[in-house]
Every structure is written in C-alpha cells, then in structure tokens.
C-alpha cells in the first residue's frame, strides 16, 4: 500500500519545525558568508537558508565527524570510546546529498560495519528538501537527481507549501503525528498535480551535464589525454576537493600522546581518526618512501577515476553524486568534472570517427 502524502502550508512551517525539535537537535543550512552555507544547529525557521543548494561540508560530518577519538590508552589498558549519540534531525538535504548518505551508509555498513558511524547514523532523522539546479549541479547525469534512499521524509516545494512524503517508518510516524496535531493536511489532487509539475520542470532545468554510459571506457581510453597534465600543473594538492565531497571517506589515524597523569610514567594517549585527502603527497606513500602517486597529476587522475568509475566493479555504483561542491571549492578551478568529462568524450569521439568503418 502506498503511504499517505501530506501538504504543509508554508505559514505552518514553524509548527513543523517544532515537531522536528521535539525529536532532537535540528540542523539545517545556514548562510555563513556571501556565497557559502553550512549545516548548523537551528532554533527558529528564520535561521534556515531554504535557498541553499550546497553547504561547504556535506551532511556526512554528522555521522563521520572531521576528527573523532576511537580509543584511549589509559592505565595500561585500551578503552574503546563509544559515546552515546544524541538524536539529530538534519533538515534540508537535497537529492544529491541523500544519494551521498546512501553511499556512505553502504560503505560504512559493509562488513564488519563501522560502529562509530552506524551508531550516530541510526540515531538520526534526515529530512530531504527539493531544489532547483544551478550551473554546477549535474546530479541528473549521475542519476542521483531524485530521492531514492538515505532519508526519512522528503519535502517538495510547491510554492505556497510543501508536498511531503514519508520514506522510513520513523519518518512516517513523524508525519502521522504531525497530521494528528493538525500541522499537516492530507495532500489533495491539486497538490499532487503541482508536485508532478515541479519535478517535470526541474528535470528540464539542468544547465550542465554529460552522458554516463561510456564514462568508464572514455576514462580508460583517455588516460593519457594531455588535459591531465594541464590540470596537474594547476593542482595545488590543497585537498579542498575531498572533505567537501559527500562520499569521500578517507581518514588518517593518529596516535596522540598525552603527558601521563601517573608518576610511574605509564602513559595516556588517544587514537584519533581525522579526515584525510588522497590529494596530499603523503597519502599514498609507503615504507621506504615509495609513493604510488607522487605527482599532483597522478593524484588528480586517481581522484577523477575513483569518483567516476572506481566503484563500478566493487559496488555497482559511481561515487560522484553530481553535487558540484568540488567544482566550487577548488581554488584552481580544475575540479570542473563536467568540463573535463566533456573534453575527454569529445577526444574519444574524434578517435572513433577517425577509425575505418
């Protein structure tokens, strides 16, 4: 049976926010500079930047924090640090980021499962929100432009209100309770029509993109394309492109020694996991100082490949969800995935056409 759909008139949004607040701490996009947004704790609807497309960091930060202590060494013992997570409601997550969370879930759930991520993730509710693409959004190309997984409730903006769908059981319960409290109405035919119109208009609204069907072979065949050297020469190896990516999960483990609290010298220390980046020179360095990816161009190509088809074989999905964050966060302007793919595809096509029939 299809689950019921609802309508929330915009003037009743503060009541809906109160319903969310009764579940836990609510986080939503907030404007932090003239062109940037960030998911932050909010109390009032007026703090929320409903217009935000991409936040600086994606919502992965709530479940996989930038720095987290995994174990402590104390009194000669190893103690695992498992904090009791507080329930978080993340509001205003767009389809690309929902897909990103879905990918992170798959990765962190994979055997044996990452307790630190999963505990926090299972103590959360994700409220999706529709959006209109800008010139950097290419989720449509990546097939992540419609909400599929990684969320509990989804709101589609239909001008004077929101058309609301519940996905998970906790999402449906939230909506049923808000309906009982008269915050929500049942969606009517007119709302459904506007909902359909919205999604049709939206799929027409994409300004940029590419075809993904030959992506893998294009990347393989154009592995020596001169564009890579040009990009590599401009790459700062600053690593801005990876923390901002909704699906980058690489970390460094660091042991931090503390001065002992004991006079006998038995030490205290902690092991932290901190976000790392494959764009740093030390990332692929191994014993004997051998580096698998010594130059910026090697690292950049690796990253493109990882995002565009590296997961095809292992998981059957691509790890780029087309959010455009890397494009807007690269000080050098070389993470324009759409532009690069277009260059490679044109080069490939020219070669194909040059072949004897």
């Amino acid at each position: 049976m299809l689950s019921p759909t609802y309508f929330l008139p915009k003037e009743r949004f503060p009541d809906f926010l109160n319903a969310l607040k009764s579940l836990g701490q609510v986080f939503a996009p907030v404007k932090v500079s003239k062109q940037s947004y960030s998911f932050k704790a909010v109390e009032k609807a007026s703090e929320i930047a409903f217009e935000a497309l991409r936040t600086i960091l994606p919502p992965k930060k709530f479940f996989y924090p930038q720095s987290e202590t995994l174990v402590k060494f104390e009194d000669g013992e190893i103690k695992e640090c498992i904090e009791e997570p507080v329930f978080k409601v993340i509001f205003g997550v767009h389809p690309c980021d929902l897909a990103g969370l879905g990918i992170m879930d798959t990765i962190f759930e994979d055997s044996p499962g990452d307790t630190h991520y999963l505990r926090k993730r299972r103590t959360s509710m994700i409220i999706g929100l529709s959006c209109m693409p800008d010139k950097h959004c290419f989720c449509q190309s990546m097939g992540t432009d419609c909400p599929e997984k990684g969320y509990d409730v989804f709101l589609t903006d239909i001008e004077d209100g929101y058309f609301i769908e519940g996905k998970s059981s906790q999402g449906q319960k939230l909506l049923a309770d808000a309906f009982a409290d008269k915050v929500l109405e049942r969606a009517r035919e007119a709302h459904k029509d506007r909902y359909k119109r919205f999604w049709l208009d939206r799929s027409e609204a994409f300004e940029t993109g590419f075809k993904v069907d030959n992506l893998r072979s294009t990347m393989d065949l154009e592995w020596e394309n001169p564009v890579w050297e040009e990009l590599g020469d401009r790459c700062l190896s600053c690593g801005n492109c990876t923390p901002v990516c909704p699906t980058c999960y690489c970390f460094d483990l660091v042991d931090v020694a503390a001065l002992s609290s004991k006079q006998d010298g038995s030490g205290d220390a902690e092991r932290r996991r901190e976000w790392d980046s494959c764009q740093f020179v030390g990332f692929a360095k191994v014993a004997g100082d051998y580096n698998f990816r010594p130059g910026p161009v090697d690292r950049l190509k690796f990253w493109y490949r990882h995002k565009l088809h590296g997961f095809d074989d292992a998981y059957g999905f691509k790890t780029c969800v087309g959010c455009g964050r890397c494009t807007v966060s690269c000080p050098s302007g070389i993470d324009d995935i759409v532009k690069v793919v277009n260059i490679l595809q044109v080069a490939r096509q020219e070669k194909d056409e040059g072949q004897p029939k």
């Binding site: 500079s33 700062l236 600053c238 690593g239 801005n240 220390a269 000080p331």
Partner: protein, 261 residues
C-alpha cells in the same frame, strides 16, 4: 627514559630550553605550559625563565631561533653536544623565518648597512646569513609554528618522554580550514591565501578570522609553488608580491628556486 621510583625530582628526565636569534615567542609558549611539564621533567636550563641554570648533559633540549650570529653557532654546537634529543621549535629554528626570508630580497651586508649605518662593520663581523638549525647540526625533531601550537608541543614532549620520535605531519592549512568549514577567502574574497602551500598546525587561524594565511608555519610537504603562483597571478597579484609572500617566512631556497624556474 621512564622515571624510576624515588622521591624528589632528581630521577626525572631532564630538559633544557634555549634561544638563539628569535623573538622568544616559543620560549613564552613553553613557559606558559611549563606547569603541565613540571611533574614529568626537571628543567635544568631555561635562562629565559629561571636564574638558576646548571651545566651538563640533558635528555631533551628545545631550541628556538635561527643561527644568525657566530655566537649562536657556538651555542648551538654546545647544545648539540649536551643533549640526547634536539628539538627545533618555531619557524626560526625550523626554516629560518623572516631573518632568512629577508635574504631573498637583499644581501645581508646591505641589510646591516641600512639598519646599523656607521656601526655596520662591527655588526657584520659577528653576523652570519640566517639559517635554520639543521643547516649546522643534526636536528631530531622539527616543530614549526610562529609561535608553536601548545598542544603539538605537549604531544611532542610526551612522545619523547616515552622514547618515541613524534610523527609530525605537514599537510596544508587548507585541511584544517576545511575541517573547520570555513568559507575559502582565496575563492570568495580573492585574498592571497597561502593555505594550500603552508603546513597546518595553527588550526587555520587566519582564514577562520576571514584573513589570508601568510605562511607563518612554513611550507607543507611538497608545496605546489608553481600552481600557487599561477593562481595568485590570475587573481591579479604582481609577481614581486607573490614572491615576497611566499618567501617571507623562510624556506627561501626551495620556494625561491621553484619560483625562478
């Protein structure tokens, strides 16, 4: 080096804190954090902070400042001969800092002349081209900063007290900046931020306040100077200003050479 049971402080590992040519910024950071160290070490020498200083060998010596004068070098050699671990603290000791950066713009003799006028010749006799400690002696640990970060300093000390050489990563400031979720001032405000080529450790202090990083921690591992220069040039910064910024805090040779290519 772990302490044997006993009373008093004589069984504790010994440390010394010394300064060469520098602004005493690291000495202040160490002084401010000395109370945390005192239960674990005996401070044998710290002329900046105490009047009773002993001679003899110690376990760890923290040295601030660059080698810029002949007596700096003599002192440094004495320090090296009398310590098990030599820790260079601060940009001056690790990279040479502004003293060395200035040499990229002019010759030492011209600088001395401009600053000391008629007294220049007596100064020049004592002066050397400013250099970091490892240009003259073997250095066991390099902890940069301007000044150093206190938690890094305590962690380094804690490692050495357990006979471990600390692992100090030098990823770029951009990492700390992004982990703090700062808007990028290089992108949004076109400020000449050197975060991409500067070693992290400060917690991205300047960009967090909306200012450009000016590189005070010294270069990160394999800084991409060519790309940094290209990007700053595209933003309209003159070559001279870019070079001035890149070389201001020491590490002159590798950065300057790459730039001149």
């Amino acid at each position: 080096m772990s302490a044997a049971a006993g009373s008093g402080t004589n069984h504790l590992p010994t440390i010394a804190v010394e300064g060469l040519t520098g602004c005493a910024g690291e000495l202040l950071v160490i002084l401010e954090n000395l109370d945390k160290l005192l239960p674990f070490v005996r401070v044998v020498r710290f002329p900046f902070a105490q009047s009773k200083n002993e001679g003899g060998a110690v376990d760890i010596t923290f040295v601030e400042g660059s080698v810029s004068q002949k007596h700096d070098l003599e002192k440094l050699k004495r320090i090296r001969a009398n310590t098990r671990w030599l820790v260079a603290v601060g940009n001056c000791a690790v990279w040479g800092c502004v003293q060395k950066g200035a040499l990229c713009k002019c010759k030492a003799a011209e600088m001395i002349e401009a600053v000391y006028g008629s007294a220049a010749s007596s100064i020049a006799a004592e002066a050397m081209d400013a250099a970091p400690l490892d240009s003259h002696v073997a250095v066991d640990v390099k902890l940069s900063g301007c000044p150093i970060n206190a938690s890094q300093f305590l962690a380094v000390t804690a490692s050495l007290l357990r006979d471990h050489l600390p692992y100090i990563v030098s990823k770029p400031v951009c990492l700390e900046c992004k982990l703090r979720e700062n808007p990028c001032v290089l992108i949004e405000d076109n400020l000449p931020c050197l975060g991409p080529v500067t070693a992290a450790g400060c917690g991205a202090l300047c960009p967090s306040m909306g200012a450009a990083c000016y590189g005070c921690f010294g270069p990160c591992e394999e800084p991409q100077i060519g790309a940094m220069t290209t990007i700053l040039k595209e933003k309209g910064y003159e070559m001279e200003e870019v070079l001035g910024r890149l070389t201001a805090f020491g590490a002159v040779i590798p950065m300057g050479e790459k730039w001149q290519k």
